[in-house]
Each structure stands twice: as C-alpha cells, then as structure tokens.
C-alpha cells in the first residue's frame, strides 16, 4: 500500500473518532434532557391533578357570594328605595354609586342624592355599624367604631367627675304645661305691631 493509502486510512479513522466522540456526548446530553423532561411531566401531572377541582370550588364560592350580594342589594333597595340606596352606597364609599347596583342596571343612570350632606357623618357612621361587620372599623386595621360591650364608657369620659359640683343647689328646670304650678298669662301684644317708644324732641 502506498503512503497515500495509509494517510487516507488515518484520515478516515480520525473522522470516525470525531463522530464517535461527539455523537456519544450528544447521546449523554439527550438522556439528561429526557430525565429532566420526565421530572417536568411528573410535576405538571401533579399540577393538573391538584388544580382540577379548583374551577368547581371557585365557581361555587362565586355563586354563593353572588347570591349574598343580590340579597343585600334587593333588601337595600326595598328598604331605602333605589335612589336613596344608590345615594347611601355613594355616601359610604365615594364614587361607588356611579357603578350602580348590580341587579338594578337603571341605578347606574341615577344621579345619587348627596346623602352625605343631608345626613351627618354620624348618621353614616351609624349606618356602618354592623355588630360584627368588618365595615364597622374606621380602617381594616383599626378598632371597631362601636364598643358593643362597654359603649357607656365613651359617654362617661365626657364627665369623669360624675355629676357637676353643686348641682343640687341649682334651680330646677321650670315646669311647663297646663298643669304647671306657675301659669303665665298670654300676652296680647304678640303678633301686634311693635309699640313705638317715645322719642325725644
């Protein structure tokens, strides 16, 4: 065999060695990928299994909450009327009246009465006083607006010393009415033109 033949054999052997090295390395990498994908498929299967009942449960929860909202809206409209109901909602939660009530689409077109001006802030606060409702707090992190167990303590704080000193010696409030011990004659000048006082010349 000529020298050129040996060189060709060496070249072919080199090519085959390169093929073997790189193909074996590729096979090893592909096996690692396969193992990794097996783990992924296992985890994804768990995810699918665990999330399967979520839709039904969430749908049920939403149905329950929808029923509660519908009932409360209907009760509010029944008791306060549609216009005042929207005004009350808007007074409690500014801007919420623009969205209207869910089951009363016409409420979105109403101009909510400014109940916050007609009634005092205290009235609105009273309206928010649910016994255990979360809205009974000034903020979700704050204390309840009304202390249902010791509400009288708030009033007592206004007069910490009790009754005013010397209250017993103060004159009693006058008794009025037809049975009052002191009757005053009705003045006949009430409703008449005012008398002109004499003026100095």
């Amino acid at each position: 065999m000529p020298a050129a033949g040996y060189v060709m054999v060496v070249a072919v052997v080199l090519i085959v060695l390169a093929l073997v090295y790189y193909l074996v390395s590729t096979i090893v990498a592909l096996r690692q990928i396969t193992a990794g994908l097996d783990d992924v498929i296992e985890s994804v299967g768990e995810i699918v299994e665990k999330s399967a009942p979520v839709a039904d449960v969430v749908t049920t929860i939403n149905d329950q909450l929808d029923a509660g909202v519908e009932m409360l809206e209907a009760l509010l409209v029944k008791k306060a009327g549609l216009s005042d109901a929207v005004g009350l909602v808007d007074g409690l939660y500014a801007g919420a009246g623009a969205a209207g009530l869910r089951n009363f689409p016409e409420s979105a077109t109403l101009s909510p009465p400014r109940i916050g001006e007609v009634y005092t802030k205290g009235t609105l606060t009273l309206a928010r006083l649910g016994r255990e409702a979360p809205v009974a707090t000034t903020s979700p992190a704050g204390p309840a607006l009304r202390d249902v167990t010791a509400a009288s303590s708030s009033a007592r704080k206004l007069y910490p010393d009790g009754r005013e000193y010397g209250a017993e010696t103060l004159p009693r409030s006058p008794v009025i009415g037809t049975d009052a011990p002191v009757q005053y004659e009705e003045r006949d000048d009430i409703g008449q033109p005012r008398k002109r006082l004499p003026t100095s010349a």
Partner: protein, 85 residues
C-alpha cells in the same frame, strides 16, 4: 497517485473540519438544553407544592356558605323590623 493525495488532503482539510464543526454544534445545542430543562423541572415542582394549598379552598367554600347563610338570616330579620321605602 496524485488522486490519492488529493483525496487525502480533501479528507483532512475539508471533510474532517466540517464533520467536527457540525457535530460540535449539535453537541453544544443539546448541552445548552440540559440546564433549561432542569430549571423547568424545578419550577414545575415548586408550582406543584404551591398548589397543595388548594385543599383549603374547600374550607373557604364552607365558610362562605355559612357566612352567606348568616347574612341571609340577618337580612331576613332586618326585612321584618324595618319598614319598606
């Protein structure tokens, strides 16, 4: 004889580098996929663990049912004691 040498040169200078280049590209692509697949497997496993809390939704569902029932009772009482508009 000259053809033999030409063939040798072509094998060593052209064919061998091309083969090595192509195989090296395939190997590097395959090896780059491995860490990505491992990351995906880790994320999928974490996601599966996170969904362990979905069982608590059943408790939430029960609580919501009880709460709405309580609100309904409360609303019924209000309906009785308050006058209609």
């Amino acid at each position: 004889m000259i053809l033999w040498w030409i063939g040798d040169i072509v094998l060593l200078v052209v064919v061998l580098p091309v083969v090595v280049y192509l195989l090296r590209g395939v190997l590097s692509a395959a090896q780059s996929i491995v860490p990505t697949v491992r990351k995906i497997a880790g994320v999928a496993a974490d996601g599966s663990k996170d969904l362990d809390a979905t069982a608590l939704l059943l408790t939430t569902q029960d609580q919501v049912t009880r709460t709405v029932a309580g609100v309904a009772d409360y609303g019924g009482s209000l309906d009785v004691i308050l006058d209609d508009a």
